[in-house]
């Protein structure tokens, strides 16, 4: 039995990041990977020098820590790529993120009118409840837009009705912003930097490793090895042996069938929660087992076609909403990075199918799937069948944790059980059963490592739920450039700390006290009238203050006399108070209204990216 300080199960982004963070702090680890390649769902598969990405991974993060890590690991091997994506529906292409004019023009006059009516209707009579995805989207887009742009695709991806999907899924992706966050993002997030940096719109362009996301994790594996850690591939963990609230060792089976046991002082698992619970030895209580079995995962299959055509379509990917085909999305890998294809005259397309592992298609032969995919592509008018020269298939089990109505209860039960172990942490997308992106998974890896190193306790379950984890990132200026002329990327990380930005906002948006302003303006107004009147009375003359006495039209009982000066002081003071109070209130209200407008604008932008 081999013994290591830390055993990490899974060499995906979360597991490798944990090992990397441990290594940087002089702590070696053993990484056990069930597959033959590192990177998990972020691996790059190489088929006859055509490289492809499982699902398409844009490298952008709102967390500066992650951006730093990426560049620390991969140096300047990043390209800055423009994003082009569209939706295919009813023989039309629609820009995605959705643009109102483009969408309405593509739908035709009648449908566009119906969309507008349905949007207006839901704004007047919104769904009172927002428990499921359908209600959530309809409340924001109206029924017809939901039906056209969300229903079919979402149901293709998740394999269940939108009414069965929890609203959490959408809400997690479109987080509510506080006014302060919205203002910070809009104002401080877009200012020019010291040396002319600007915030690049990470919606319109993204970072991408030259040879796909797997390049990152292959490099990370090398770095981790340099720290004295070891990665064992094709080593599937089958049992996790524990006693007295501690995990003692894990038992794994190699591809040869041989069994190995690995001891450790700390264990970090990225295994799907269902598999982890099933592997616990002795078995957890029935309640926990039932919860684990209640978790569902969506599987995913990519049919890769090598097409003898230089330029099939300009997009990085296209969402296929059209219900007549089973394909959910199609990737054009050379548009992600021109280095993904060995020959620029060829194009490699990734046809993505979202399935359950019990679906017939999951067990179809590669040849049958390639033929099926070719036919669907031709049906959509994207290629001619004769252009397809070669192809392959990649299957990825448990790619997406399913957010049905019961998952939260199940996860809560499992989490309570796992928290009874003092030396076991679960991280990553499947380890937390959360629809985390790569950056979130990496953060969970960093936190797990820091917990092991005895730093203050980080709650890995809070990642991608708390706003604190969504700080804005800023990058140096850069022209997105021509799509076929990729630019290397430099990342700037020495920006103003978030606390200082908050202080700036606190000061700039500090409220005026209306009462104090009323008193100040009122006092001064009253005194001005009093002094003005007294001066004229003291000067005397045949007609005293004929012009000032016109104020009597507005100030009841005012005259240019000693008594009138007191009346003027009192009434002028009251008028001044009203003006000062209203002015301060109006200024406060305007600032809040402006901030609410900024938040509304940002939320609209977020909603436009709901499918990503």
């Amino acid at each position: 039995m081999a013994s290591h300080p830390v055993v990490v199960i899974g060499a995906g982004p979360a597991g490798l990041t944990a090992a990397y963070e441990l290594g940087k702090n002089s702590s070696s680890s053993l990484i056990l990977e069930a597959g033959k390649q590192v990177g998990g769902i972020s691996q790059t598969v190489n088929y006859r020098d055509f490289r492809f990405d499982i699902g398409g991974h844009r490298f952008f993060s709102k967390m500066p820590m992650v951006t730093e890590l990426w560049h620390e690991i991969l140096g300047d091997n990043f390209l800055l790529r423009p994003r082009i994506s569209r939706i295919h529906y009813n023989q039309h292409f629609f820009d995605y993120p959705l643009k109102a004019t483009n969408a309405l023009a593509g739908l035709g006059v009648v449908e566009a009118l119906l969309v507008c009516f349905s949007y207006a209707k839901v704004k007047v009579f919104p769904n009172a409840q927002e428990e499921n995805f359908e209600q959530w989207v309809i409340n924001r887009f109206g029924y017809r837009l939901y039906q056209i742009f969300f229903k079919t695709y979402t149901e293709k991806v998740w394999g269940i009705s939108c009414t069965e999907i929890s609203a959490d899924w959408a809400a997690q992706r479109i987080k509510n912003l506080s006014l302060k966050e919205a203002v910070r993002n809009a104002l401080l997030g877009q200012r020019g930097g010291k040396k002319g940096e600007i915030v690049t719109s990470l919606i319109e362009q993204f970072h991408y490793p030259r040879l796909g996301p797997g390049m990152m994790w292959e490099r990370c594996e090398e770095l981790v090895a340099g720290f004295g850690s070891q990665t064992l591939k094709a080593m599937k963990v089958e049992h996790i042996r524990h006693r007295h609230g501690r995990v003692d060792c894990v038992s794994a089976r190699a591809s040869s069938g041989e069994h190995f046991e690995f001891e450790g002082s700390d264990f970090v698992s990225t295994m799907p929660l269902r598999e982890l619970i099933e592997a616990m030895d002795p078995q957890p209580p029935d309640k926990v087992m039932e919860a684990a079995l209640g978790l569902r995962y969506r599987d995913y299959l990519t049919v890769v076609l090598v097409v003898n055509c230089e330029d099939v379509f300009p997009d990085n990917w296209i969402y296929i909403h059209s219900p007549e085909v089973k394909m959910g999305r199609i990737q054009n890998y050379k548009n992600w990075s021109p280095y993904m294809v060995p020959d620029p005259s060829r194009t490699s397309l990734g046809l993505e199918y979202f399935l359950w592992d019990k679906d017939d298609e999951w067990t179809w032969s590669n040849e049958r799937l390639i033929e099926f995919g070719t036919r669907e592509c031709a049906q959509l008018g994207l290629i001619r069948p004769g252009e397809v020269e070669d192809g392959t298939v990649v299957r990825m089990e448990k790619a997406y944790p399913v957010y049905d109505h019961h998952y939260q209860d199940h996860v809560r039960t499992i989490r309570q059980y796992l928290e009874t172990f003092s030396n076991l942490q679960t991280i990553g997308r499947n380890g937390l059963h959360r629809y985390n992106n790569q950056d979130h998974s990496m953060v969970t890896g960093v936190y797990a490592a820091r917990n092991i190193m005895g730093e203050s306790h980080h709650d890995v379950w809070a990642v991608n739920t708390e706003k604190a984890y969504h700080e804005e990132d800023r990058t140096t200026s850069g022209n997105g450039g021509d799509r076929m002329v990729p630019l290397p990327v430099q990342v700037k990380v020495d920006e103003l700390p978030i606390e200082e930005e908050e202080e700036i906002i606190e000061v700039v948006f500090a409220k005026l006290d209306p009462v104090a302003m009323g008193v100040a303006v009122g006092t001064i107004s009253g005194l001005l009238i009093l002094i003005g009147t007294v001066i004229l009375v003291l000067k005397g003359g045949p007609v005293v203050g004929p012009n000032l006495s016109l104020l009597g039209n507005f100030l009841f009982g005012f005259q240019v006399t000693w008594g009138g000066s007191l009346v003027g002081f009192l009434e002028g003071g009251l008028g001044g108070f009203a003006i000062g109070y209203s002015g301060a209130s109006l200024r406060n209200w305007s600032m809040t209204a402006y901030a609410k407008f900024l938040r509304w604008r940002e939320e609209v932008n977020h909603r436009r990216n709901l499918l990503d």
Binding site: I505, E506, V507, F509, A510, K539
Partner: protein, 102 residues
């Protein structure tokens, strides 16, 4: 959803204080230049009785008249009065904020 931030949905918990000196300068500039340009405008317009109403300010500002020389006197008085008013508003405002904040 939608409720978690609303309990804390405030841009700033700070009540603004006014810098009396700054407000004095701003109001002084506005008062001085305002009176200067108003006087100059009337002079440029010309007519039989130039600025008969603005002339009434001479009741308070000794030496002021609607003439080119008077415009410079007005600049001085306007700046002085504006400065005092601005400073006084800031001073009173800050005092009241201080009292209410106790």
């Amino acid at each position: 959803m939608g409720t978690d931030f609303k309990s804390n949905d405030e841009l700033s918990r700070v009540v603004a204080k006014i810098q009396g000196g700054v407000l004095a300068v701003v109001c002084g500039l506005m008062g001085g230049l305002g009176l200067f340009f108003m006087t100059a405008w009337l002079l440029l317009e010309g007519g039989p009785k130039v600025g008969s109403h603005l002339q009434l300010l001479s009741n308070y500002f000794i030496g002021y008249s609607v003439t080119w020389k008077g415009s410079l006197v007005g600049l001085f008085y306007g700046a002085l009065t504006g400065g005092i008013l601005g400073w006084a508003i800031g001073f009173i405002y800050n005092r009241v904020v201080g009292i209410r904040g106790r």
